[in-house]
Assembly symmetry: C2
Homo-oligomer: 205 residues x 2
Amino acid sequence: MEFSSKLLENAVNEMSQLPGIGKRTALRLVLHLLRQPKEQTLDFTKALNTMRSEIKLCKSCHNISDTDICDICANPNRTENIVCVVEDIRDVMAIENTSSFKGLYHVLGGKISPMDGIGPNELNIYSLVEKVKQGRISELIFALGSTMEGDTTNFYIYKQIQGCDVKTSTIARGISVGNELEYTDEVTLGRSIINRIPFEASLKS
Amino acid sequence: MEFSSKLLENAVNEMSQLPGIGKRTALRLVLHLLRQPKEQTLDFTKALNTMRSEIKLCKSCHNISDTDICDICANPNRTENIVCVVEDIRDVMAIENTSSFKGLYHVLGGKISPMDGIGPNELNIYSLVEKVKQGRISELIFALGSTMEGDTTNFYIYKQIQGCDVKTSTIARGISVGNELEYTDEVTLGRSIINRIPFEASLKS
């Protein structure tokens, strides 16, 4: 792309560093900012800068927070010895939306993925294992995405806490509510048959 | 969406003001910035702020530029009395990429669109009409998108310069190079038959 302005080119190059934003989209977004009042660009950049410099991670669960201990960990009404292990804040938000979990979270910050150079030391695994070893957790729920990396991470943590007095579970894999059998992939369908649940239990949920 | 951090929420809200960026995408982009070094966010916001505050429009053609007169208008090798009328800088870039036009441009900054509250006064039409009336232009090429708004804008300018000694043309509408007849829409195909060109002329291009 040939730009008539170096300033425009810089802005487009920076914008296109964001994932999923190509040069063309970046140009469209930058031209949009140019058509808006200057204040919008100022507000936008100020919000990003403030967030980047002032945001904290909860010292207990590693979730994004404005305070040292996040609202969920600080809430006395939550069951603190049931901990749900998730990848990042988006999973916390998704589970919180369901209102079906009243324990605490532990945010790993990613999944073990040798292909991307992410090993156990890049994730918040050590502090989780410590919590388990100190006997502060009675049940650990693995809620990572159902991928090779997710399964590897689950298994790694499981191995680390073997011998500790802790119940472990993973969220159920199965057919989505509202889905037809014939459109479900065979791995999911196979697992949903192997891990079938008592009919009486299904009536309750 | 319930956020665990006000700073994160602000950043996501500002990011989702951009066209085509919803809350979910905005969250994904903001989390990406959080995973990168602080410098990336600083460089990004600085590039946007500098661009928004220092960028200029060429005083002659209204294209985006770092100087008062843009590089194209200032180039002595370009034919200055042939002017191509376009909507915005993206069209200038697209035509410049073809290397088939050696005249100057006039950037309108949009198309007449009463539905969006854009009338002739919101666009750079007056200065174009003035140039024509001063006899500085011998040919005007309308190169707006082939939409109702584009045609309206073309016609409005055409009416304004009636009686002036200027040749007007529009870029050809027809079947894209490489396209099959059967997949072309009927309006385009119909126009391409009505505006057929001598076979000898087609051999040259």
